[in-house]
Amino acid sequence: MYQSESVIRNHYNNINDWLDQMTSKVILEKNAEAETHFRNIGITFSTNNETARERIIPFDLIPRIFTYTEWLKLERGVIQRAKALNAFLADIYNQGEIIKANIIPKEIIYKKKSFEPSMFGFSPPRDIYSPIIGIDLVRTGPNDYFVLEDNCRTPSGVSYMLENREIMMRMFPDLFHNNRVTPIDDYPTRLLQTLMSLAPIKCENPEPVCVLLTPGPLNSAYYEHSFLSDQMGIEMVESTDLFVEGKYLYMKTVDGPKRVDVVYRRIDDDFLDPLCFNPQSVIGIPGIMDVYRTGGVNICSAPGAGIADDKAIYIYVPQMIKFYLGEQPILDNVETWNCEKEQELKFVLDNINELVVKEVDGSGGYGMLIGPKSSKSSIDEFKTKLSRNPKGYIAQPLLDLSFSPTLIKNQVEGRRVDLRPFCLIGEQAQLSSGGLTRVAMNEGSFVVNSSQGGGVKDTWVLAE
């Protein structure tokens, strides 16, 4: 919000005035209203204990704002990246040109668990493997954006993006009269169009039947699954609702079996098909992979799409962009040391006090070390871990994430934020005009994950 210590950036002026005229009583009331709203609509985490109270993510009332020009750059950069990641998947599951060109070593790809050998030689509709990509971005200066992570499997959080906006419009209608905020509520429609544009070859239906496949109510993103299927007007199914007969996939309905063309799956590869992946799995649809490979159904995202967001592959994304698109990357990667390489490991060990070390397979802000913020003993502990299993880790510099004004105990204070916008790729590639802003609610914290005290904000993109 601030340009320098005390100068407010232009596009935050309205918000600043609005904040000035809010009393602490109003803030308290509005906070309570938001919390009640989120509980009532059920945008909560499930816990295993059914009767225990479900948790909600803290919601901060102050929106984060991007100007039109700021957003243009992000939009172009994210779409560019999403296209390159899909091109990469199409390449490695077919010719493997990028390996032949010695840009990415083949061991890095083919030995990964997220690489799916059964996908080899198969091309999904339009060569799109990952139609919904969430890209985690941070900002360190007026024009410095870095990509922290790509999410090519089943990125979640879009329901927060939409619900945060809904609650803001409901609580503060005047804010939206006085600011030209680009709407985002067409996201579900665009998502459905994207899915429908990815119908399998054997689909004769001009309006392909899409379903959303959920693991069920105990999944932490279950609210999002039901929210999205509701908004798209498609069935939300569990794997027991689906079955394979002949060369097609059907769902069990009160009318009898109904053919399904596109499955927007929100379950992991391992649980898709017990015949193909995890034979121990009790969930899953036996035979679905066979139907998929023979063009009877499309599965979005494609099995094996996860290789593209592997932390070891991440390092190569800028090169992918040059290789497949012939373009310069618009968004930068964070400088990353791959501990698998001896020299880089040595550098990391020598400079660990200054670095952030992450587990390659870790997520949720767990299993990481923030060097400058850690005690000597935990640093030593990580050093031992690193030396034992170097290929399990990468390291990055500690970025000075941008601050966003946040209400803490009724006072406006700066807290670090990141951003996850959602990119859709089907017949066309498009970016939601907004995203999920996560905020580290604890003072001085760099961790925005909800499991560790992170909250969320509404994210505005101002119209031109």
Binding site: R39, N40, I41, G42, E50, T51, R53, G216, P217, Y222, S226, S229, D230, E235, M236, V237, E238, T240, D241, M251, K252, T253, V254, D255, G256
Partner: protein, 311 residues
């Protein structure tokens, strides 16, 4: 519509209906406990428990029948599958799965109810809170029912109402079964205090106390009450009204006409009989037998609905 969705919708309204019935029964018990009754209050609480189908479960847990325990068992107890708490919890868990199949208002109605009952459960309630709890439950169920009026009139709607009327038919019939003897014209009871009280229990628990007065002129008699609760198509809790509506929502289903046909065939005799019968004939034949048969029939229709649509 997914078979699972249909099944969950059906059960959501069964649970909500059951929550209301249980709450009303508690209210009846509470009222009775305020009146002097020579035979003691416990009898009333016992018949409340039997009408709620909870007598066995209760006796497994408690040795004696006491108001406080009955209230707790019927309203909050997690081990009683028909407690108001469990009904709401189950309805909410089902709704969570099928919230896409009804309106946001319906989901909100159920989820708010759930959030509130968690709060109520945490608070320690006292005996005199019971009327508030009952009133609250009825209000919540009405909110839910009201929200259904904006639903698309599709199969989901019909499954919701099939569930509602199957549950109501069963609840009404069970209540009648527990209390059928007060409707038998035995000269020694007529006009007696106990009789009046028993009748009022029956009518109140079927939310029909005042409606009955409007529907029938003159003296209250056992036959009139029996007619009202069994055969009167204007009474929204009578057996005939429930059957009529089960038939209506069943035949309104647009999916699988042959499945609908099979269930309808099983139901149509009962429907014809109940629409044409005179209450005197039923009483002569045996109200108890009639009601028992009715309960059996409803249960077989319920089984068929499960078999045909939900498997």
């Amino acid at each position: 519509m997914l078979s699972r969705t249909a099944e969950y919708l059906y059960w959501i309204s069964r649970y909500m209906e059951r929550a209301e019935t249980t709450a009303r029964l508690l209210d009846v018990g509470y009222r009775m406990s305020l009146f002097p009754n020579p035979s003691g209050y416990n009898n009333e609480w016992e018949s409340v428990l039997s009408a709620a189908g909870a007598i066995e479960g209760y006796k497994n847990k408690y040795d004696t029948i006491e108001q406080r325990n009955v209230e707790d068992y019927l309203f909050f107890d997690e081990s009683n599958p028909s407690s108001v708490y469990n009904c709401i919890l189950n309805a909410r868990n089902n709704a969570l799965v099928v919230r896409t199949s009804f309106t946001p208002e319906s989901w909100l109605a159920i989820n708010k109810t759930y959030q509130e009952i968690l709060n109520l459960k945490e608070k320690k309630f006292t005996k005199s809170d019971l009327p508030d709890l009952t009133e609250w439950t009825i209000e919540q169920v009405n909110l839910f029912r009201g929200s259904l009026s904006s639903l698309l009139r599709n199969d989901g709607y019909n499954f919701l109402f099939l569930g509602l009327f199957i549950e109501r038919a069963d609840n009404s019939a069970r209540l009648l079964d527990v209390k059928y003897f007060v409707l038998l014209p035995k000269p020694q009871y007529v006009g007696g205090n106990i009789d009046n009280m028993q009748w009022s229990i029956l009518l109140r628990s079927l939310s029909s106390f005042r409606a009955f007065r409007w529907a029938y002129n003159g003296n209250i008699t056992a036959t009139k009450i029996a007619d009202f609760l069994v055969l009167n198509n204007n009474c929204p809790r009578s057996l005939s009204f429930c059957i009529q509506n089960i038939v209506k929502h069943l035949t309104n289903l647009t999916c699988s006409p042959e499945k609908v046909g099979r269930i309808y065939n099983n139901l149509k005799d009962l429907n014809t009989k109940i629409q044409e019968e005179k209450i005197e004939t039923i009483v002569e034949y045996g109200l108890h037998q009639f009601v028992t048969q009715f309960i059996r029939k409803i249960s077989s229709v319920d089984n068929e609905i499960h078999k045909e649509f939900f498997n």
